[in-house]
Symmetry: D2
Amino acid sequence: MLCFNEGRYYVVRVVRGNILSFNEGIVKVDDLLGKRYGETLYTHLGVRFTITKPAILDVVYRKFTRRTQVVYPKDAAFIVLKTGVGPGSRVVEAGTGSGYLTAVLAYFVRPDGKVYTYEVRGEFLDIARRNLSIAELDRWVVFKKKDVRQGIDEEEVDAVVLDMAEPWSALKHAYSALRSGGSLACFLPTINQVERTVEEARELGFAMIEVDEILMRRYKVKRGETRPEARMRGHTGFLVFARKL
Amino acid sequence: MLCFNEGRYYVVRVVRGNILSFNEGIVKVDDLLGKRYGETLYTHLGVRFTITKPAILDVVYRKFTRRTQVVYPKDAAFIVLKTGVGPGSRVVEAGTGSGYLTAVLAYFVRPDGKVYTYEVRGEFLDIARRNLSIAELDRWVVFKKKDVRQGIDEEEVDAVVLDMAEPWSALKHAYSALRSGGSLACFLPTINQVERTVEEARELGFAMIEVDEILMRRYKVKRGETRPEARMRGHTGFLVFARKL
Amino acid sequence: MLCFNEGRYYVVRVVRGNILSFNEGIVKVDDLLGKRYGETLYTHLGVRFTITKPAILDVVYRKFTRRTQVVYPKDAAFIVLKTGVGPGSRVVEAGTGSGYLTAVLAYFVRPDGKVYTYEVRGEFLDIARRNLSIAELDRWVVFKKKDVRQGIDEEEVDAVVLDMAEPWSALKHAYSALRSGGSLACFLPTINQVERTVEEARELGFAMIEVDEILMRRYKVKRGETRPEARMRGHTGFLVFARKL
Amino acid sequence: MLCFNEGRYYVVRVVRGNILSFNEGIVKVDDLLGKRYGETLYTHLGVRFTITKPAILDVVYRKFTRRTQVVYPKDAAFIVLKTGVGPGSRVVEAGTGSGYLTAVLAYFVRPDGKVYTYEVRGEFLDIARRNLSIAELDRWVVFKKKDVRQGIDEEEVDAVVLDMAEPWSALKHAYSALRSGGSLACFLPTINQVERTVEEARELGFAMIEVDEILMRRYKVKRGETRPEARMRGHTGFLVFARKL
């Protein structure tokens, strides 16, 4: 990540030989090689910048190619904590989509865990693969071109995360794949999907079923002019959580 | 975690020789030793239960002693993802309080990271220490009886997380302690604290300052009777995020 | 309304001969007669108070007997403005319940309008009648012990407001009773009721169908400690609006 | 209001001799004269439409010229009910702005009440005057080109509604102008304005001070696809209410 003054910054891929062009001037990638985070350099126009290590959200939400509706950070964060996905976790995810949630999951299962991600549409799988490679998180991901409704190959996994149109068709397989105590999370845009998913989960014997919605409000803070921002996302999706006990 | 039918479950500490007493009957801890997760046992009344590995939230929000206002999962989750705290991260936290947020941070920095947590009140430090030990996360935490406003001992840390009344007094030290690209997060109940923190952060040169509030709505889902729950927490705190760039 | 110092106040009914007893002392209603709003008097203990005209919400939400779930001010207010119920309006309401919404509607249709309120349960009708009489709004209300699903007697009404379990069964009659351009409003706790009501409204030819939810957040304001209140009502009901065009 | 099929409708001003042109064809205003609401006519292209009486919101939010930030229906409705502004009320308002809130207030004080609206900027007063005339509500409004911070001419009014940048400068006059039991309402975009207004109101002896925020969520309802709308207004303003007791 190259940071210029006044909060302008760019997340870049380090590809040998590449030339990067900004409003602030041109930067040769080769000049960046061997530099450490925090070091200061100049563009060909003499504009100063600092090299910084990007955070996971910098990479995922700024550099990823987006072809599908993606899960928002507010939702991804809550899914991770509620399911307990953390270092060493083995997680099954479906569908992969553009790989945003895959990347967040992969980030947290390092260094010993694994994300098995299912996607039927080959073109999305390609995009997701490229995205995960940009984030340098691909070694923690197993990409599978398979319909999760046909079955889950993994066993005794810690969590199953479903971001797909008909998660109820995959719940039976999710239940089988989960270890005792393992967590299920589903991200669902409509309340009808929620109803159907909850009913199917109840029938299969899932416990601790809970339906939550996370809303985020951003504030504009300035002395004497502090207020919530006028624009807000009114809805992304509902979250269904359950456990195999 | 001992799971009985119909969603009743108890998170227990495995202390050799202890006797656990539930509505469902008595269980000797010694009988649990050597058993694996998923195995089924019976209480002295013949009631069946399964031994399950608890999730991080099961332990933190059900077994921890609470002496202070604690950070809610919705907020803790967002702090973790926004700051990029993950496997290997070195994090400074203040104040420790009852250690809820400390535990969540410790959970995610495993196996190679570390949480340095500052607290001036000795009695809270003791409670937090015990809580972290219950969660078996204490080896990733360094407890420090010190006022973070007097200085931070660590250098080049990945994140500083402040859950204290006057974070602005500690921002200077936070800035020094952070590595380039590192993240600051503050949890603040009042809007006045937010204003003062944001102003101080701006003056110190923090970049990408952002103020968010996370709201969670829970739903009661039943065929034909689905609705948001009547009770909702209207406010926990505001979150101020910033970066050292 | 009798207002004492420090924000203590009581809404009272003026019944000749009655004795009112407060923490601040005893007041004889007969002593209040002939006094004007704004005048100051004393209890038998010598505590000073002022006689003030109560506002509509003072009476409805403090003096009414409550036997049913009642519509909140946030919802009642929006129903009134969206339907355009105002001076002179002729409104059909069902069910009456404890008469809270009836009173709000009656308040706004004065001096020439009328609220026709339908209720099948006689005991609620009695309570509502008494409540409306306390608010001195009963002359603008026609109470009808009738199931609105069996038909609406009135014609060319300006608005139909339904706060009942199965509004879809009454929509046909609502459509017939409404004048061209008239408004329908339904208050519904569950999303399933919303779906069914909207579908039926569409089939009947209602136009401008809109579903809204009103949330209210209260703030605690004190210099340096301003924040949203921790407790908030997470849900009362959804509002379905439609027009006969 | 002319209503065509499939929910298309236009609110028009009846000005003798005018020609109205729509996608559906041309309509001569003279042909509308003498017709009653509910009657059906045809455009010169033979497209059928019905003449309907518009609701107050149809006129205010569709036909008014907008030059300033305007108060939203969700906020206007709550102001009306909380202050108890109704038939016969005498209300002072400042500033007038484009006259949206003025129109809503005027609508509810009919037939015997009056809205005294203060505005220092002449150009807005002209726009508001024209807007109120379009809504045929101007006879209930007294327009005053005067700074409300210099004083309020009216006495014993039922409510004072302030939608201006510095309401605290006018609170003293508001207190004097209000009758005992009268209501104050302020609409304020920032939390800092709220703090200052509340403090001034407390000092002046206002009682029952309350700060609320009204949020509206709209839903998209379709069988099997029901969800909150993705777009939502995150903030309009805070509402401060108080009473003179």
